[in-house]
Symmetry: C2
Subunit: 304 residues, 2 copies
Amino acid sequence: MIEPAYVAVDWGTSSFRLWLVDRAGQVLAERRSGEGMLAAAKTGFAAVLQAHLAAVEAPAHLPVLVCGMAGAKTGWIEAGYVDTPAPLAAILKQAARVPGEARDIRILPGIAQRDANAPDVMRGEETQLLGALGLDAAGEALVCMPGTHSKWVRVKDGTVERFSTFMTGELFSVVSRETILSLAIANADDAEDVVSFKTAVKAAYEAPAFAANLLFGVRARQLLFGGTPAAARETLSGTLIGTELAAGLSGALPAAGVTLIASGRLATLYRHAFDALSVTVQPIDADEAARCGLSMAAAAIWTK
Amino acid sequence: MIEPAYVAVDWGTSSFRLWLVDRAGQVLAERRSGEGMLAAAKTGFAAVLQAHLAAVEAPAHLPVLVCGMAGAKTGWIEAGYVDTPAPLAAILKQAARVPGEARDIRILPGIAQRDANAPDVMRGEETQLLGALGLDAAGEALVCMPGTHSKWVRVKDGTVERFSTFMTGELFSVVSRETILSLAIANADDAEDVVSFKTAVKAAYEAPAFAANLLFGVRARQLLFGGTPAAARETLSGTLIGTELAAGLSGALPAAGVTLIASGRLATLYRHAFDALSVTVQPIDADEAARCGLSMAAAAIWTK
């Protein structure tokens, strides 16, 4: 039987993923749940983790490496930040050990940009960057990481130089649920409407200052011209993503295009968005990148 | 005793204002309440209006002129739209009479921009424009009307040529209450922070594509550098208003500057915002403009 070498945990705001990994980096078992930082802050981080460790029959001595919001001030323990310019190699050297636990449990730090004109923070994405780009990738990359809080990151020769967070996903959530646009989107089916989406991406990319006007247009268009709730939803989504792309793509574009680290529905949406603007992307699966980054860090810490 | 000539009602989404007016346009009595369209749609428009008419002892024969969302599809009766380019004089000719009422009750139409690339609607603001600019104002005006759904209107020689609605006020409301920024703003006192506000207006005006990033910066700044909840709230407000101004001011600016139709706190905020950008404004009180527009329309309909 293959012996497990460590446990890797991606512990986000609202999701929890755990992998039991052997010395060669192979996944022996996996767990996924909705017990993210918000839920675990109520029920207890140690209890949540222990239940999943028991479910995969992890030996008592097996070390655990965690990335993500579990290391936030409102998480389990505060794992601090590496400041920009942040070498990705510095991440795995500053893992914070959870005190009072017999098992060796460590949480990777985030990255902070302590620029008074552009303050920013990330937690979890630094591990995806590590997994996607590796420790010593030469050259420049512009990385787009879509999500509740999308990150756009400039990486040069293995160092995170600058990054910007956009509240795109959270804006989609509250605008679609809590504003007048909820009337336009109500009862939308799951039908894709790539044409409406791409049209909205282009319009917002070309006139990002008008984003709040293009949003109202979703409602006005339906009042004056009709249209399906699904088209309204895709137009809202395209408007917000197109505005984000106008900012994210405003600097120099590397020859290889944009490195897109995303999974599932978001990966599809952003590929459509970049396609609407004829921008080349290098797609990387976000789940895979997180697991890979945790494995690289765990290997450096425990199996060297 | 002075005889009343008509009743004027500004019936918005969430507010109701009524004035008893004499033949000379003087206000004899006034009522204000929160029984806007949303509330009246539940309790009955006729009953709400009748209660206020009784409170000001309006004679049974006295006609009533209404503007605003009471004329929407979801209002009392649908009062239709005048299409752009819309002469303000056309507004008062197309008032819709409420059927089944002994009293002569009419609702003014809104304005629709039936442009598939920039669909838009207004209801209520057309009456403020009438009151603020008059029927036959020569020349060009760029009008800013802040609110839940801010309107920017190009008027030329008494005709509404184009307009754009921005969801600025509604975005402020949902972002401050329902997103991660609620943590940054929680327990903010009412202290003004004009410096934070103006700084945010300028930053967003200069880089409107980065609006969703500047919003996240409100939270990141507090995490990394501290700062009061009031400063966070003013930065959020300035970011949204600065983005709106980047779009609204993107065309030609008339020599007289921007005509700002606003009341109370919003009037103060927008005057600070225009001041931050060194743009001249001609301020007009929005309440006064609505009453004046209704009076002009009522005089044309009933007392000519």
